[in-house]
């Protein structure tokens, strides 16, 4: 089962929840992978301190033109919807950073003058932290598009293993890429106007994608009741709360895991594993039937 941890708003505690949930789950004698798909700002390694066994350079395919073969027909420029290849005076010019790797230009080139070559967009690291499997992607600085790298991180998650997937903030393409094929989504929020506004956006997203989800409230008690009221009204399960506590913030600031620094939270996260499984189960049975 793959559980994605997401939130519209940044800084609500996605990484805290993902890392601690993954560790608590692995302590229930199950094989679990933590996957950091927040490839623009991956932070999971700061808390899990994994030993990295493999670092893989990830390339996105971009066109390379062989001018000896090019007849200047201009079809590559016509098919490209991203202005990544433009033909000027019969000569194709490429802008690799705009390329979406659709392969159209090379398919349409009759003299076979366009070859697709990989362009480095970042790295995927794999390793382990104790009993936990660890996978993480890191986008190369200056690179705009994260979804191709996110796909590679997901591919590095061992099949038939449970996974906790740390998503980036927001509700647009990188987040959709992370959550769309997960089995369950946990939305992390905080009891503030910004927290609620962005939770509503995240709920709209998971509903549009037809995913199973519930909400975890972080820093409970720091704001007001608006998230509770909203969840009640919308009939959304609020399955766990982490209290607002300066001790948690301080331990987080040092890069400590809550389940180790403040052991009373190990139980909270183990229970969270159970609640997620319980909510996922009915669907599994339906599918089998």
């Amino acid at each position: 089962m793959r559980v994605a941890i997401a939130s519209g708003k940044g800084g609500t505690g996605k990484t805290t929840v993902s890392a601690n949930l993954a560790v608590a789950w692995s302590r229930l004698e199950e094989k679990v992978t933590y996957a950091d798909c927040d490839v623009e700002e991956p932070n999971g390694h700061l808390f899990l301190k994994p030993s990295i066994e493999k670092t893989e350079q990830i390339g996105a395919l971009v066109p390379e033109v062989n001018f000896d073969l090019c007849d200047g027909c201009g079809k590559c420029g016509e098919i490209c919807n991203f202005s990544a290849i433009v033909v000027l005076a019969g000569k194709p010019l490429t802008f690799p950073e705009l390329c979406h790797s659709c392969g159209g230009c090379s398919l349409v080139c009759e003299p076979k003058a366009i070859k697709e070559i990989p362009r480095n967009i970042g790295i995927v690291e794999t390793g382990s932290a104790g009993d936990l499997n660890f996978v993480s992607g890191k986008l190369r600085i200056g690179e705009a598009m994260s979804p191709p790298l996110i796909r590679e991180v997901k591919r590095a998650i061992p099949a038939n293993e449970h996974a906790v997937i740390d998503a980036p903030p927001g509700t647009s393409c990188p987040v959709v890429e992370v959550v769309k094929d997960s089995d369950y989504v946990l939305l992390v929020t905080e009891p503030t106007p910004f927290g609620l506004n962005d939770l509503k956006l995240a709920v709209e997203m998971v509903r549009k994608l037809n995913l199973r989800y519930s909400v975890l409230l972080n820093r409970a008690g720091s704001g007001d009741d608006r998230v509770h009221d909203y969840c009640r009204k919308e009939d959304i399960d609020l399955i766990a709360e982490i209290p607002d506590d300066r001790k948690i913030a301080e331990s987080y600031s040092r890069g400590e895991l809550l389940v180790d620094a403040l052991p009373q939270y190990e139980l909270l996260f183990k229970r969270l594993v159970d609640s997620i499984k319980m909510r996922f189960k009915p669907i599994q049975e339906e599918t089998i039937r």
Partner: protein, 304 residues
């Protein structure tokens, strides 16, 4: 577009989310008296909750393409299915589907490349330009504001950010206002790059945590990559004094100055709940910290 040569564009970003960017932008707008504000965090925009903009003008934002198969023309040859690299062509079960077409486009997965449409022998696939969001031009009690709403699960956030910035520049031009504050999104990818290319100064808001420090380094690398000067503000600076000092020293070693330190204070949350900026909510401690940040920032802007 006309150019207001005096106009200075300051982008507020953080790498890591939740460091207090939006609260700080609202306070800076309140303190500057004379600024245009742009909310470029288009897929989780929150600034309007504090600025309470009165919308004067709005327009639909259309961008990119989505493929659409006409089931009447499609002969189910499967070429589109074979060519699509984004798994956006779904195979339907012909036994269940009543129509004669075996394929359908998954609009969320569709990247809009047009390969399927180009190679369809029956010309059964059309590329449509969808509405991806809305762009707003507004008035607030602090001054003009440009903002947007990206549709749920939509793409092209970078293009929308560029439109919001252009709208804000136009507002600055029309009103003769010299400061433009841009509230950016978290991360270092497409919308962040779109919000900062060509800007005059970046104010990076960080926090003294291992994650804040890690992400600040990536933001510093990004601003160097695009040759934009950067200054730093450490929010919640007393949460971890040790890391706060380390951030300051590391920044200095990189030639980046920490121009503000804001104490850890519940006024940030309380002001948000009251729907006003921190400097309007409180007039001691934390508000003083933000005023000092603004004084330092204004000096820095004037020296640009």
């Amino acid at each position: 577009m006309l150019q207001n040569s005096k106009m200075k564009e300051i982008v507020i970003i953080s790498g890591k989310g939740g460091t207090g960017k939006t609260s700080i932008v609202a306070s800076l707008a309140a303190l500057a008296h004379n600024a245009v504000v742009a909310d470029c965090d288009v897929d989780a925009a929150d600034l309007h909750l504090i600025m309470k903009p009165k919308i004067l003008h709005h327009e639909d934002f259309r961008a990119g393409y989505k493929a659409k198969i006409d089931p009447e023309i499609c002969t189910s040859c499967g070429i589109c299915y074979d060519l699509c690299r984004f798994d956006a062509v779904k195979k339907l079960d012909p036994a269940i589907e009543a129509n004669n077409c075996e394929y359908e486009i998954d609009k969320i997965a569709c990247e809009g490349c047009g390969v399927c449409s180009f190679f369809c022998p029956e010309k059964a696939i059309e590329m449509e330009t969808p509405i991806c969001g809305e762009l707003f031009s507004s008035d607030t009690h602090f001054g003009p504001m440009a903002h947007a709403r990206l549709g749920i699960a939509e793409e092209n956030s970078g293009k929308l950010v560029t439109l919001v910035r252009n709208e804000a520049k136009k507002l600055a031009e029309e009103t003769g206002i010299d400061y433009l504050f841009i509230d950016g999104s978290p991360g270092v990818g497409c919308p962040v790059i779109a919000s900062l290319t060509g800007a005059d100064l970046v104010l990076a808001v960080t926090e003294p945590t291992v994650a804040g420090r890690h992400d600040l380094k990536r933001i510093a690398e990004l601003t160097r990559h695009f040759s934009i000067p950067m200054v730093v503000c450490i929010n919640k600076c007393d949460l971890n004094q040790e890391i706060s000092n380390e951030i300051e020293n590391e920044a200095l070693a990189d030639g980046v100055k920490v121009i503000g330190k804001i104490r850890y204070d519940s006024a940030f949350t309380k002001a948000q709940i009251a729907g006003i900026s921190v400097v309007e909510y409180s007039n001691n401690g934390v508000a003083e910290d933000i005023k000092q940040l603004w004084n330092q920032l204004e000096e820095k802007i004037e020296a640009l």
